[in-house]
């Protein structure tokens, strides 16, 4: 009796350790590519990231030095336009789907969002080229922002919907029971309760589009010089990296690595800042 129990206990402990180890291995495997990419970028790019790289525009072919300042600022401009379009529309659509979306129309919206999510980014670029660039007659930061903004919508809409659906119904009832109108309840109670999840969705969408190159090829187009006007062709980091990486010059290759490093740093920085701000606004949950 006693020994049988001992053997069982041993087996149970062994299995327990086995699965803990397997789970730890799996998480290591997930992290490994991330660290590999970071490490390689640092190794290849860090040497070329200096003050001139961050503050100067590209030099003509053959001259050394110069930087990607115009592309960094241009990316910032395009991403700001994309966020201004994609975040409110995405969150709005998510609210509709979760709080009001029992109808057939909502089913269609949901399906369309999923399809939109699967549209290749180059197709998005061509579509915006036809819809915005041709009617306007020129490439622009605005058209690039539109292309990236549309790409943000489905991710944000579906995560917002799912996060709102996770808010227990009793919370909505509590608010309605206080005589708070439906729209106020949705914005100030339901959405607020789901804030951290919604922010995660927004950040996922932002990080994804920040590195997109294809939708910008025929929209923002790129620019070797300064341009801060949203209606002008504008440089963007991914475009600049692409152009430099396929060039035959070693100097440009080094700058492409540096650009990639800066791009990753900007994405990680933006995501971290938003997380810190969101965490600061939270009240203590511990008893």
């Amino acid at each position: 009796m006693f020994s049988a129990k001992g053997v069982l206990g041993l087996r149970r402990r062994f299995t327990n350790h086995l699965f803990t180890a397997a789970a730890a291995m799996a998480s290591l495997l997930v992290l490994a590519p991330l660290f590999a990419i970071f490490g390689y970028l640092l190794y290849k790019g860090l040497g070329s990231v200096n003050w001139a790289f961050l503050t100067h525009t590209p030099k003509p072919i053959g001259e050394t030095g110069g930087g990607m300042a115009n592309a960094i600022v241009g990316s910032g401009l395009i991403l700001a336009i994309a966020s201004a379009i994609g975040i409110p529309l995405g969150i709005g659509a998510g609210i509709y789907l979760s709080e009001y979306g029992k109808s057939r129309y909502a089913q269609v919206v949901r399906f369309t969002a999923d399809v939109l999510n699967g549209v290749p980014s180059i197709v998005m670029g061509i579509a915006v080229y036809a819809l915005v660039v041709i009617p306007q007659g020129h490439f622009s930061a605005f058209s690039g922002g539109v292309a990236l903004g549309i790409m943000m919508i489905p991710t944000i809409a579906r995560t917002t919907e799912e996060m709102l659906a996770m808010v227990p119904n009793v919370i909505r009832e509590a608010a309605l029971g206080l005589g708070i109108p439906q729209w106020r309840t949705t914005l100030s109670i339901t959405l607020r309760t789901a804030t951290s999840g919604v922010i995660t969705g927004v950040m996922l969408a932002f990080a994804r589009i920040a590195g997109e190159t294809a939708p910008l090829l025929f929209t923002a187009f790129g620019n070797q010089y300064w341009s801060l006007k949203p209606n002008q062709p504008t440089a963007a980091l991914p475009l600049q990296i692409y152009v430099y990486a396929i060039s035959p010059f070693d100097e440009w290759h080094r700058q492409a690595w540096a650009g990639a490093l800066v791009l990753i740093a900007i994405i990680v920085g933006a995501v971290s800042i938003v997380r810190v701000i969101a965490a600061r606004h939270r009240v203590s949950h511990s008893a």
């Binding site: 919370i171 509590a174 206080l178 005589g179 708070i180 100030s188 009240v283 008893a287």
Partner: protein, 253 residues
């Protein structure tokens, strides 16, 4: 001050299923009225019809007349939000707003309805928490701790404070103690006893001892009908309907 409630020919449905049939009831102001009955008898639906919460569920429908003080609850010119502001509700499961501090939970009903006076809010929050017998336990952490960090019993008293902060005339309680331990339940019952000095209280309960302890009047519901409504003492000692007697003596339900 509390006001009376007059219910006439109240019918309610979920889709095609009728859950309340021809309910007539007069609720006395500044008294506690208990609504008892077996599960699924319509007692929760009944109180949710009093402040127009029933209609927030998809497919739910109401017919009939409910008069609360001077409010014709289902009158054509009456807005649901105005009704709910004047008829507070406490739910079965404590449901504080999880991302808000204790203070913001109590202030929510006023703030989100456009009340902007900060000093006034401080006064109302403290008074409401005192009335809900929670102030002493939380006064040092009202702005620091989330409502969700409190114990279950404290959360329910927080929800009562939140309902009282908007200064309703009637307080509806839908099994407010059924998720709580006996000590917390005792505290809530004591509270209900004090609340009737200022409010009219209608409480749904599946606990007959609780009804006997706190209520002045008791209504017994069965399969969507109000079988008997009388003074609590009468219902529990000499009920006039056989079905009421069977239920309170534990023969079914």
């Amino acid at each position: 001050m509390g006001v009376g409630i007059e219910v006439r020919d109240l019918n309610a449905w979920f889709g095609k299923a009728q859950v309340l049939q021809d309910i007539q009831m007069n609720v006395e102001p500044n008294h506690v009225t208990a609504v008892i009955g077996p599960s699924g008898c319509g007692k929760s639906t009944f109180v949710r019809c009093l402040n127009r919460m029933h209609e927030t569920i998809a497919g739910a429908r109401v017919q009939g007349k409910v008069q609360v003080g001077d409010i014709d609850v289902y009158g054509s010119g009456t807005a649901a939000v105005d009704v709910r502001r004047r008829i507070g509700m406490v739910f079965q499961k404590p449901n504080p707003f999880p991302t808000m501090s204790i203070y913001d939970n109590v202030a929510a009903g006023l703030k989100l309805n456009g009340y902007r006076n900060r000093k006034g809010l401080d006064v109302i929050v403290e008074r409401s928490l005192r009335m809900a017998a929670l102030w002493g336990e939380v006064k040092d952490v009202v702005k620091k701790k989330s409502g969700a960090s409190l114990s279950g019993g404290q959360q329910q008293r927080l929800c009562i404070a939140r309902a009282l902060a908007v200064e309703p005339e009637v307080l509806l309680m839908d099994e407010p103690a059924s998720a709580l331990d006996p000590i917390s339940t005792g505290k809530i019952e004591e509270l209900i006893f004090q609340l009737k000095e200022q409010y009219t209280v209608v409480i749904v309960t599946h606990n007959m001892q609780q009804a006997a302890r706190v209520a002045d009047y008791t209504g017994f519901f069965l399969m969507g009908k109000l079988i008997e409504f009388d003074k609590t003492q009468k219902i529990f000692t000499t009920p006039s309907d056989k079905r009421t007697e069977d239920y309170i003596t534990g023969r079914f339900g």
